[in-house]
Amino acid sequence: MPVKCAICDGSAILKRPKTGDALCKNCFYYAFEEEVHKTIIDARLFTHGETVAIGASGGKDSTVLAYVMKELNDRYNYGLDLVLLSVDEGITGYRDDSLETVKRNQMQYDLPLKIVSYEELYGWTMDAIVQQIGLKNNCTFCGVFRRQALDRGAMMLKVNKIVTGHNADDIAETVVMNVLRGDIGRLRRCTAITTGAEGSLPRCKPFKYTYEKEIVMYAYFKKLDYFSTECIYSPNAYRGFARAYIKDVEKIRPSAIIDIIHSGESLSVKTTVKMPVQGNCERCGYISSNAICKACVLLEGLNRGLPRLGIGKTHKERRKIEELSKEGNVNPPQSGAAERQPTSIQTPVLAMESLSLDRRKPDVSKLDF
């Protein structure tokens, strides 16, 4: 006996991962799109006349996002100018294919496309970075640089906002990961639907409450073409554990993904706990809780032949680089490949005092025992 669609009584062909309801194809599209629309309206993500960049990686989330954004913009007359924005990290064999996907999407959806490359933005391709630092820490670079690349590209395009394809699973995973790491600052921020401080571009997540499985399902039935974009460089270990955990919890209770997001939204941090103040990077203006943002620190390390600089969270490195930056001797990140040689820098007198050199050979005869 064919199962009936819960909405229209037609014959159902799928069970919604989120609610368990049996639906036909069209009713699923309807429910999926209406939910995204509701998310956009409830959070007042956009205003009429804005230019919005869709972060397009060629992966499933951003491919579906581009499609749905275009669809909803037309249907509900958001009055948005949509553009696709893609970042080319320069990872051999990774983006080559996905960029092709993005380019195809551009034609299918009839949206303008801008591709910014790492080479253009930083003077380094991801492959070149990996060569410098080995495989171990490149996800730090990958993630940090990618976030910024999108912003920089967006600024070039003079857009008002960026939307990204982060879905409910991603957010739930981030909540769990930050609980495991005891990172209260990130834990508090990670459930916000719009991020970005003053002076930087707001980023929104219209898929905040959308299940990853439903995104796949939507792409599958709509025959949307995407490239599977698991970063080929290994992810953060804790994120991997959090991901595995989320998947297991979801099996027990499918609503758990949203439940975790609700938990994240309803956490209140003690007023006595100091939270990092979000400001802007002195060098590049990107949102940062430090005077110099992570990307600038990483870049500095790369350009100086000390690529591991800034991979840790030690504040000392940052402080040092801040000192250096005040000297005016440090290359801004835009400097690019031409200036990769480490520059000789005068040691600030103050810093020198705290770094006493014990290499001088002590005169033992003068020591009194």
């Binding site: 819960a6 909405i7 609610t19 699923f28 939910e35 509701k38 998310t39 409830d42 007042r44 909540v175 769990v176 609980v179 495991l180 005891g182 990172d183 209260i184 834990l187 639907i193 409450y209 297991d248 027990i252 439940d259 609700h262 938990s263 994240g264 939204e265 309803s266 956490l267 209140s268 941090v269 003690k270 007023t271 390390g301 100086r304 000390l306 600089l309 800034g310 991979i311 840790g312 969270k313 030690t314 490195e317 040092k320 250096l324 480490p342 000789s344 820098i345 005068q346 040691t347 020198m352 705290s354 770094l355 006493s356 050199l357 014990d358 290499r359 050979k361 002590p362 033992v364 025992f369």
Partner: protein, 688 residues
């Protein structure tokens, strides 16, 4: 990796102890050169701890690398600095009280020192990976620091860092790493990478041995084993303490327990450490008053058995500073909801009753169904009061199933029905937790206990925290894991062993011969993914094995969250009394999930899942309200928190909650309707 040792060839004043892992300078300040037994590999950290100092000397330990092979028995100089250094092929530095950061400069032009910014070789993860193996970051820290982390409140963080690198307990490491064709040498002092202190070491020219000159005030150093095998964080590492190993604290007694890898405590010092931790947790809270009546929840399990023992010890005359509260012990018999598993828990329960009586404080056994037993007001009825009189006999007479107490028998039937109506094990577990908590609160209330102590250890609380997050109870996690839980007006729940790991509990119990009794739970003999709590437990304990700071990280998260209670009768959940977290804006997970369930249902007509239920009213909009004072599902939901909504959603019929629970819910609903009616005439909106 085999054990790291000192080379048997050493300076004439050195005596090697403890299987060549400790170097002691017997006399003078010189002729105290020691070497690593084997050459270091790139990235391998050679770590020593200063165990003894001798005053009256100037200067301290020197450490570095040399390419002289101690096996060749070359003639040893008096000092590492400058003698050995002058012999060449050696890179040595003195450890000083401060200023151990060394700037590398190329010889000559001292004005233009190329000041490099170095990245710590240690990274920022809790587990440090080196080519020779991985170890916990805490191993690089002095024990003193580790202990102070446990003892001090999270607020006061000062003064713990005041120890000097040359002090006893300080941990100093040396390593080199390959940079291009040569190597650079680094110091690691008390967990901090000091940056490159020598560069261009021709490591290909010959193997590099670690050199330690036990010089000046430094009298004795011990090699800390970073790579010894069997490092995995097993339940008890008792067997792994090598014979003759001394206690970290007193340094005289033989060690019996490793509280973290390589920090071994002897029995006496471990007891002091654990007891101190327990007393400090109670003491610093300043919440438990002298003479106060405290109800101690006892389940027979290891943690509550440990708690009970700590309390008994603390109250005994021989205790150093006697605890002064008045305990009563309670055991809750949950067999009513477990009978699908086994009914032969009888002997275990008898044993629990015996153990309670043995302790010698007032004790009682209550049945879980009493939590829903009918009464007149909000608490246990007058009729039940007589049965609640305390007894030194662990009497269970009135709550015996054979008892003529109709209410209780009715409650037993009702609670079984309730649990069998809950579809998922996750929700059943959640309901059990809430009912247990509720019963403890009511017994305490009726019998005049102002506190309830529970034996939740840190590991358990970390599991609960994450499990709560996954069940949408984010708003409650702080309250559920803090030392004190103040959600009830006149009874406070406290968790005095929340700083204990399950490993410490197990060791405490085994050292004291504390007996624990196994009773099955809802998830006994079920697979890992049978419930969210069960899954989370497996997840957290598994992660803890590889990442020993997992539990403390999770607890740290909980400590930074607010436990503030909101006032007003409508600000708490009618079921769990936690803060109501459902007053959220349009852009919220709650709103989104409600929309999802609406949108994929028929806009008009019957709702699926409703039609197939025998109790369906035929209303067709999901609001079956054929039962229970005509309350609608939506109304019931409106007074529940998000987490309790999730649990009641797993019930076949959420309006079929036990009458007692329901009465409170309907009372709440009536109150809020009343308030709505008179809303316009209330002058102060806060005056609710």
């Amino acid at each position: 990796m085999p054990v790291t040792k000192f080379h048997p060839y050493h300076g004439q004043n050195i005596r090697l102890l403890h299987d060549n892992m400790v170097a002691y300078r017997e006399t003078s300040f010189a002729h105290a050169l020691t070497f690593s037994e084997k050459a270091l590999k790139p990235g391998e950290i050679f770590l020593v701890e200063i165990e003894k100092n001798e005053l009256g000397w100037s200067g301290h330990m020197r450490i570095g690398l040399t390419q002289f092979d101690p096996s060749c028995k070359f003639e040893l100089p008096q000092y590492a600095l400058p003698d050995l250094q002058n012999m060449g092929k050696s890179w040595i530095f003195a450890v000083t009280k401060s200023h151990n950061k060394v700037v590398y400069s190329d010889a000559g032009d001292s004005d233009s020192v190329d000041r490099e910014i170095h990245q710590s070789v240690l990274g920022d993860a809790e587990v440090i990976h080196t080519p020779q193996g991985s170890f916990s970051r805490s191993l690089l820290l002095p024990l003193r620091k580790l202990l102070s982390n446990n003892y001090e409140t999270s607020v006061s963080t000062s003064s713990s860092d005041s120890a000097l690198p040359t002090d006893i307990g300080s941990r100093i490491g040396i390593m080199y790493r390959v940079v291009g064709d040569t190597a650079e040498m680094r110091f690691i002092i008390n967990g901090e990478d000091q940056g490159p202190c020598a560069r261009n070491i021709p490591h290909q020219g010959g193997p590099l041995y670690a050199v330690v000159d036990v010089y000046g005030t430094t009298k004795q150093v011990r090699i800390i084993q970073l790579y010894c095998e069997g490092e995995s964080d097993g339940p008890l590492q008792k067997e792994k303490v090598s014979p003759g190993r001394k206690c970290m604290k007193c340094r005289t007694e033989n060690a019996i327990l490793i509280i973290r890898v390589n920090d071994a405590f002897c029995k006496a010092c471990f007891m002091v450490y654990v007891t101190h931790k327990f007393r400090a947790t109670i003491g610093k809270s300043k919440l438990v008053r002298d003479g106060e009546k405290v109800l101690v929840a006892y389940s027979g399990g290891p943690s509550s058995s440990c708690l009970l023992h700590l309390i008994t010890e603390g109250l005994s005359e021989r205790a150093h500073k006697k605890l002064r509260f008045k305990p009563g012990i309670i055991f809750i018999d949950e067999s009513a909801v477990l009978d699908n598993l086994i009914e032969d828990g009888g002997t275990a329960k008898d044993r629990i009753a015996e153990l309670m009586v043995d302790v010698g404080y007032p004790c009682q056994t209550r049945r879980l169904e009493e939590a829903i037993c009918l009464d007149q007001g909000g608490h246990l009825s007058e009729a039940d009061l007589s049965s609640l009189t305390e007894s030194y006999q662990a009497s269970v007479c009135t709550s015996d199933p054979a008892s003529p107490d109709d209410n209780l028998n009715k409650a037993r039937v009702e609670i079984k029905a309730l649990f069998s109506s809950i579809k998922s094990l996750t929700a059943r577990e959640d309901m059990l937790n809430k009912l247990r908590q509720r019963l403890l609160m009511e017994v305490a209330h009726v019998q005049g206990y102002s506190k309830v102590m529970t034996g939740h250890c840190g590991t358990r609380l970390a599991v609960n925290l994450l499990s709560n997050i996954s069940q949408g109870r984010g708003a409650h996690v702080a309250m559920d894991t803090a030392f004190s839980d103040t959600r009830y007006s006149d009874v406070m729940f406290v968790r005095p062993i929340r700083d204990f790991s399950s490993k410490e509990v197990a060791m405490y119990n085994s050292l004291h011969g504390v007996e624990s009794v196994f009773l099955p739970t809802l998830t006994t003999k079920t697979h890992e993914g049978s419930s969210i709590e069960h899954l989370t437990e497996a997840f957290v304990t598994g992660l803890q094995t590889d990442y020993p700071s997992t539990v403390s990280n999770i607890m740290r998260t909980g400590e930074k969250l607010s436990t503030e209670k909101r006032d007003g009768e409508n600000s708490n959940c009618a079921l769990c009394q936690g803060p109501l977290d459902t007053d959220v804006g349009a852009s919220s997970a709650l709103n989104a999930v409600e929309f999802s369930s609406l949108i994929s249902k028929k806009k008009n007509g019957r709702v699926d899942g409703c039609g197939d239920s025998a109790t369906c009213c035929g209303e067709g909009d999901g609001s079956c309200h054929t039962q229970s004072e005509g309350l609608k599902k939506d109304e019931v939901m409106s007074v529940l928190c998000y987490g309790c909504r999730m649990t009641t959603k797993d019930m076949a019929d959420p309006t079929a909650l036990p009458e007692k629970l329901f009465r409170q819910i309907s009372y709440r609903i009536r109150r809020s309707k009343m308030k709505e009616d008179i809303q316009d005439f209330l002058l102060d909106p806060e005056n609710s």
